[in-house]
């Protein structure tokens, strides 16, 4: 049993075509703002994307045996290849229009976009043309819910196979779905996603933002990405209303989206019965409150208590949901408050959300595993099942969670080691690796919220790009391609 490359390439071809179509909004923006070279570059890229799609479509029509038959195993290859190709292709307009002349820089930026990380190599964001900044943020929107999920929503012919593939993209240890047909599931997810996007856009505009600014910031929030079109990120807007709208929407998008469907069907109490959601909210509130207290007691902000609390709640939400927006330089915070941020770096958002990181559900199960480990030492003969939502978690799932955590730590350390070759201090290298793997965006020290990633070597940028994609695809989907047994399981 081996990977079916031909059929996989068919699906990838179609997906590239869809990418082409996704470039249309950016073309429109370019036309509106009269950015002709950008419009031309985007249009050419768009047409180039349509070519492989058309070719594979025709080939499929001609062949007797349809190319849509794929197996679960092909999913890993398709997802990883698609994500890498999307990043590479979307980088082309940036290079061609000289917005980001270096290809590795552009590739980094696009990986950061699709993986909804939000780390940037741009030293002067505001100098880029509006259409380019729009496209950059639009990648967050696409990558947030998932490009595979988007594809399966759009193309019903992908159907069941799509489910297998999408499982590799959906964040979380299990693949829950509410509807029987996966296409329905994807459609409903994207519809909900769409609705949230529109609501936030309107709310932000009510706060005084232009439509353009509002869309850019919304894409960054809803995809939990973090790109902004302003150098000082959200701090640019100087409005407590806007800060809180974004805080709330970040938290909304860091929640398990399946819970919203449960909410519609069974009311809000059912949401609060979910163990992961309870941990997500209580952890967020505790950490934010502790950080606020530290900031207030140390008189960190001259702007007063209201701003201190806002800043704490905003930044904790930003890091926890792995969005990465900033109001000001939290690298200047007292150590305890920074450690609070570091904590939420390590937990990430909820599963089946647009956020990244190890995911709250895994942290929850890990904590239960730890507690069980301690209890077993005291009472070796007792049996302690791990229960989530009142149901026992199957051993397989628990094992998967445990080996995911270990692999995550291993990849984090290896990434950290490779980045440290550049010679920057420990905190910089470590948080650079951590932020990329967790798809957050900013780190501390030299990669703090007011800094950028431009000073890293091309090697480090590539390492970080791969860390971002690997983290977004929950590691195994990405790294399994390195296993020989994956490509040919006839190997013993």
């Amino acid at each position: 049993m081996t990977v079916n490359i031909k059929n996989s390439c068919y699906i990838i071809g179609i997906m590239i075509g869809i990418l082409g179509i996704c470039l249309v909004p950016s073309v429109i923006v370019a036309v509106i703002y009269g950015e002709t070279p950008e419009a031309q570059a985007l249009t050419i890229t768009l047409l180039l994307c349509l070519v492989p799609a058309v070719i594979v479509y025709i080939i499929n029509k001609i062949r007797k045996e349809k190319l849509t038959r794929i197996k679960a195993r092909d999913g890993f290859f398709i997802v990883t290849a698609a994500w890498l190709l999307y990043s590479a292709i979307t980088a082309i307009p940036f290079v061609v229009t000289d917005s980001i002349p270096d290809f590795i820089d552009a590739f980094f930026e696009m990986c950061s976009g699709y993986s909804t990380t939000g780390s940037t190599i741009l030293t002067d964001v505001e100098s880029l043309p509006k259409s380019m900044l729009f496209l950059r943020s639009f990648t967050h929107w696409l990558g947030g819910m998932g490009i595979i999920v988007f594809t399966t929503a759009v193309l019903p012919s992908i159907g069941i196979e799509g489910q297998m593939i999408a499982a590799n993209e959906t964040p979380g240890p299990t693949n829950d779905k509410i509807w029987a047909r996966y296409t329905d599931n994807s459609r409903n997810l994207y519809t909900l996603y769409f609705v949230i996007t529109i609501i936030e856009t309107i709310l932000l505009m009510l706060g005084g933002m232009s439509l353009y600014d509002s869309l850019v910031q919304t894409f960054g929030t809803v995809g939990t990405g973090g790109f902004s079109n302003y150098g000082d990120s959200i701090g640019h807007f100087h409005s407590l209303y806007i800060y809180w709208v974004i805080t709330i929407f970040m938290m909304i998008c860091g929640t398990n989206f399946n819970l919203y469907f449960v909410l519609f069907k069974r009311g809000i109490n059912s949401m609060f019965q979910d163990d992961e959601f309870k941990m997500y909210i209580s952890f967020y509130l505790t950490v934010s409150i502790l950080a606020s207290i530290d900031l207030i007691f140390k008189h960190h902000y001259s702007e007063g208590i209201a701003y201190s609390i806002t800043s704490a709640f905003f930044h904790v939400a930003s890091i926890m949901t792995t969005t990465g927006y900033a109001l000001d330089d939290f690298d200047l915070w007292p150590t305890f408050a920074k450690m609070m941020l570091m904590l939420v770096f390590l937990t990430g958002a909820s599963s089946s959300s647009t956020g990244g990181g190890p995911k709250i559900i895994r942290i929850l199960v890990s904590l239960k595993l730890i507690r069980r480990g301690v209890s077993v030492k005291i009472h070796p003969n007792r049996i302690y099942p791990i229960k989530v939502n009142k149901k026992a978690v199957p051993t397989d799932v628990v094992t998967n969670i445990a080996n995911f955590m270990f692999f995550y730590i291993a990849v984090l350390f290896i990434g950290w080691l490779l980045i440290s070759i550049d010679g920057h201090d420990l905190v910089t290298s470590f948080t650079a690796a951590l932020t990329c793997l967790g798809n957050v965006g900013p780190g501390f020290n030299e990669v703090g919220p007011v800094c950028n990633f431009s000073f890293f070597s091309p090697f480090s940028k590539l390492v970080m790009s791969f860390l971002m994609i690997a983290g977004r695809l929950e590691l195994f989907t990405f790294f399994i391609l390195l296993s020989r047994r994956y490509w040919n399981s006839n190997r013993a």
Partner: protein, 489 residues
């Protein structure tokens, strides 16, 4: 179930007696170097410790040596606290005016074989420095002892059941085997100590330093710095070489020595854990040496290689000694060294850290994760060299590793209240939990005096928890530990 038990009292009193007796060494040093206040106060403490110990043992009759796991954990942690408490007294009553928390820290740092310090090297009398070093040595001895006797029963210590390897001739009953093995382990440790001392004598330094350094390096603790009375130690390539060699020898699995002594050298060389440990050291040592040679034109290539391997062994064995200012070394080297002390040494040695044995199993756990995603229905246990790793052991190692990191993260959060910046806040608990005693950031000389008294106390508990594989410390926080009738938890 009463927690204060007679056998516990007898154990603690034994500790008191042994420590009291071992205080004779710093007393001798104090006498020699005319540190009279220290001499008299230590003598008083020794007399009281021995006295109280003997008294308790006189009144409390010997008990049969049976206890449950949970009792064992309690005994472990209380014994450690008692040992540290008694060890802190010579510092406190020395007349130097040290804060008690600092004395507690130094004592804990010794017994946990960490060898971090808060009392500056120019502020500590020679006799107390020797006491520090001696407590390091005793800490190493205790770990060797406990690994055979207690840790296996409790399922901690990072080595798989050694009953097969330890057993001598098949006909011996288990108890005899155990005490025989204990004796052998202690003898091996003693031999290593004597050997290192003899090798350090001709190094051109005062015998005081030979003894001081032997105690601290053979227990993989580090190097005690002292410069009182105008005496100081001169470090030569020879002494550095001796430190490196003996740190290494104490950090490999003592099973290897058992097998050598039993006349089975082939089995000794086949030990997988030690082989992997050696490979780790060789590869890291080469990397570090090459980078140092390339980056630092001041030293000759040979010197760079020497320094490279020395610092590699220093961190890999969780000793934490250094002979140069390493704060300015390349980031890659620093990061690599941090990983080395996290991995730690082998099980059944004086080293700490996660231990190489667990690392091997963790590697297989992760690679099995890949296998399961390709073949979700496959049932395949972890097999290492034709021996299956039981599901129980894999679960135990999983829990331990998660607990280790969770505890580390918790200690960094608590330590951040000292507001010393991220690098130091992250580095210090790392150095403490792996019992290395040295790290990067502001603690790159092993000096922990930058922390507040709260921070120092916190770190002393982290050191103790790290040495006792964290479980012994954590059980204190488990409700079902204190109330056996509690079903849930």
């Amino acid at each position: 179930m009463t927690l204060i038990k007679k056998q516990l009292l007898r154990m603690l009193s034994l500790i008191s007696i042994i420590e009291g007796v071992s205080m004779s060494l710093p007393m001798i040093v104090a006498l020699k170097y005319e540190e009279t206040r220290v001499f008299f106060s230590t003598m008083m403490i020794a007399a009281i410790s021995v006295g109280i110990g003997l008294l308790i043992r006189g009144f409390v009759k010997p008990q049969p040596l049976k206890f449950k796991s949970r009792d064992a954990f309690l005994y472990l942690i209380l014994s450690m606290f008692t040992a540290v408490f008694v060890a802190s007294l010579p510092y406190f009553f020395s007349g130097e005016g040290y804060n008690y928390i600092d004395c507690w820290f130094e004592a804990a740092s010794g017994w946990t074989t960490t060898n971090a310090y808060v009392i500056p090297s120019d502020d500590i009398p020679l006799s107390l420095a020797m006491w520090k070093s001696e407590t390091c040595w005793m800490g190493g001895l205790v770990i060797i002892f406990l690994t055979i006797s207690l840790f296996q029963k409790l399922g901690i210590g990072g080595q798989k059941s050694m009953s097969y390897e330890i057993s001598g001739s098949e006909g011996e009953p288990v108890n005899q085997r155990l005490s025989h093995s204990l004796r052998m382990a202690v003898e091996i440790y003693g031999i290593l100590t004597v050997l290192e001392f003899l090798m350090l004598l001709p190094s051109g330094n005062d015998p005081y330093f030979a003894l001081l350094d032997t105690f601290s390096t053979v227990s993989t603790s580090g190097m005690v710095d002292v410069s009182a009375g105008g005496m100081s130690r001169v470090l030569t390539p020879y002494t550095e070489f001796v430190f490196t060699v003996f740190s290494f020898l104490s950090s490999i699995n003592f099973i290897v020595y058992f097998m050598l002594l039993r006349g089975k050298p082939k089995a000794a060389f086949r030990n997988l854990e030690v082989r992997i440990y050696i490979v780790i050291i060789l590869v890291s040592g080469l990397l570090v040496s090459m980078i140092l040679a390339w980056q630092d034109p001041q030293h000759s290539v040979l010197a760079s290689f020497g320094n490279g391997f020395m610092i590699t062994v220093s961190f890999a064995s969780t000793s934490g000694f250094k002979t140069e200012i390493i704060g300015a070394w390349p980031s890659f080297v620093k990061t690599l060294l941090m990983f080395l002390c996290l991995i730690g040494g082998c099980g059944f040695s004086t080293s700490s850290g996660i231990k190489v044995q667990r690392l091997v199993v963790l590697f297989f756990i992760v690679s099995r994760g890949f296998l399961k995603r390709i073949h979700p229905h496959m049932v395949k246990p972890i097999v290492i060299r034709n021996r299956t790793v039981s599901a129980e052991r894999a679960a135990s190692i999983t829990s331990y590793t998660l607990l280790f990191f969770a505890f580390y993260i918790l200690s960094t959060v608590l330590l951040s209240l000292d507001d010393l910046g991220l690098e130091t806040t992250l580095a210090a608990p790392w150095a403490a939990i792996t019992n290395t005693g040295m790290g990067f950031g502001a603690i790159n000389t092993g000096f922990f005096g930058i922390f507040s008294h709260y921070g120092r106390l916190l770190l002393s508990f982290v050191m103790i928890a790290g040495r006792l594989d964290i479980y012994a410390f954590m059980v204190l926080f488990s409700r079902s530990f204190w109330d056996a009738n509690r079903v849930t938890d």
